[in-house]
Symmetry: C2
Subunit: 236 residues, 2 copies
C-alpha cells in the first residue's frame, strides 16, 4: 500500500528547514527508527554529507535517524532494504540523472509500490509525477530521459507561485510556462503552493496543508482545488 507525502517545499517562510512538516514526517515514519535520505539533488551544490547532516539535525527532535544513500556501497541494495525513504529538494535534473546512472529507478519505484513510506520535498516531489517536465529547475545536466517514477498520474509543479500583477519582468510567469507544457502534452498539472502537500495512502490521494492548489488541464480553465480535495480523479 502506497504511503507517501509529497511536499511543495522543505521550508516555509520564517520557519526552520523541514519544521512545518515534522508532524507529518513523524506520522509517516512512526515505525522506523532509521530512514534513508537521498541527497543527490544537492541544492546550491551542498555536498551529500552536509545535506544529510542537515536533514539529520532537522529530524532529531522526532527521534528519526537518517543515513545518506551516498554512504552505502550498494545504493540499489540499500533502497531495496529501506524501511523509509526521504528525497530532498535541489536540482531535479541532477537528482533524476543520478537515479538513472546508479540504476535506482526501478528499485525506488518498487519500494514505493511495496509500501515503503516515502517523503519528497520539491525535487523529491517532482520525480513522483510521470515526468519531470514541469520542474522549475535549471537543466544543468542531461538525464537519459525526463520520465520519472510516476507514483501520481498527474504532473506536479512545486513552489507554485501566482503571477505578480505589477511585475516589470518580461520572462514567462509560471502559468504561461504551464500553458506551454499543456500545448505540447496532455497530462494535467497540479500547482503546489509552498505549504501544500499531497498525501498518498493506498488508493487515496489527498491535497493537504493550509492552501488551495490550482489544477491546469489542456483546453480547460484553471480550477482551484480546496485543501482536502481528492486528487485521484485528476488523472482520470
Amino acid at each position: 500500500m502506497l504511503h507517501c507525502i509529497l511536499a511543495s517545499t522543505s521550508t516555509v517562510y520564517g520557519k526552520p528547514f523541514l519544521n512545518y512538516l515534522l508532524p507529518e514526517i513523524d506520522k509517516l515514519f512512526k515505525n522506523n527508527s532509521e530512514i534513508i535520505f537521498i541527497p543527490f539533488a544537492q541544492p546550491g551544490g551542498i555536498s551529500c554529507s552536509d545535506y544529510t547532516a542537515k536533514v539529520s539535525d532537522a529530524l532529531a527532535p522526532i527521534d528519526i535517524k537518517v543515513r545518506g544513500l551516498h554512504e552505502f556501497e550498494s545504493p540499489i541494495d540499500a533502497i531495496s532494504k529501506a524501511n523509509g525513504i526521504f528525497v530532498g529538494g535541489g536540482n531535479t535534473f541532477v537528482l533524476l540523472k543520478t537515479i538513472y546512472d546508479l540504476g535506482l529507478f526501478k528499485p525506488l519505484q518498487d519500494a514505493l509500490k511495496n509500501g515503503v513510506p516515502y517523503m519528497g520535498t520539491s525535487a523529491g516531489t517532482n520525480i513522483c509525477g510521470p515526468t519531470i517536465c514541469t520542474t522549475n529547475d535549471m537543466p544543468i545536466v542531461y538525464p537519459p530521459s525526463f520520465e520519472s517514477i510516476g507514483i501520481v498520474p498527474f504532473q506536479i509543479n512545486p513552489h507554485f507561485i501566482d503571477a505578480e500583477e505589477n511585475s516589470t519582468h518580461m520572462g514567462e510567469n509560471r502559468e504561461t510556462r504551464i500553458a506551454e507544457y499543456l500545448y505540447h502534452n496532455n497530462t494535467p498539472v497540479l500547482g503546489l503552493r509552498e505549504g501544500s502537500f499531497i498525501e498518498i495512502k493506498g488508493d487515496s490521494i489527498t491535497l493537504k496543508g493550509p492552501l488551495s492548489a490550482p489544477l491546469f488541464r489542456s483546453g480547460s480553465k484553471k480550477e482551484e482545488l480546496p485543501t482536502g480535495s481528492d486528487l485521484k480523479i485528476i488523472g482520470l
Copy 2:
C-alpha cells in the same frame, strides 16, 4: 564573418514587442529586404503563423519583410539560402528539439559562421551558447541533446533577474540556480538583464544596452561587467 545580435528579451517593460531593438535590427539587416523568422519556440503556445505575423508587424516600420521558416517545404534549404535569420523567444526546449528534428542544427550553425546576419531574443539567444543548460524555461519536451549551436564560448542566462531581498518565496533564486550549474559544469555564465544584448561582429563580442551584466565563473565571485565590455575574454 559572424554578425549577430543576441538579446535577453524581445520586449522591455512598457514598450511594444521588439520596439527597443528596432535600431539594432535595422542596422543588422540593412542589406536584406526579407529575412527568415524561426518561430518554433512558440511562446505561450502561439501558432507559428501568428507568431510570424506578430514579428512581421513589428518590423514593418523598418521595411523588413519576414517569412516564417514553417512556410517552407524544405526548411534546411531555406536556412542555407537565407540572407538574414531571426530566432524568437518562447520555450528553448521546444525550439532546440525542433531544430534537431528538422535537421537544422548544422545548417543554422553554418549560416551563422558564413556571416548570415542573425538576431536572437531569449530562447533564440540561449541556443547560441554551447548548451541550453542555463535556460530559465520549463523542460516541456525532451530534446535529443542539450548541446546548442555554440556561437559564443560561454553560457548565457537571458532575462537575468537579481534576487529580491524581501522575497518570502522559497524556490531557488537565479544566482542559486547558476551556482548549481557551476557546481556541475565549468563553462562561465553571463547573466543578461532585460534590455541588454550581445553584439558579435567577426572576432569581437561586446556587451551592449544600458545595463551591466553579471558574470559567474566556477570558484570565483560574481563580477559585474559594464556595458561596452569585451566579452571575448570570458571563454578563454
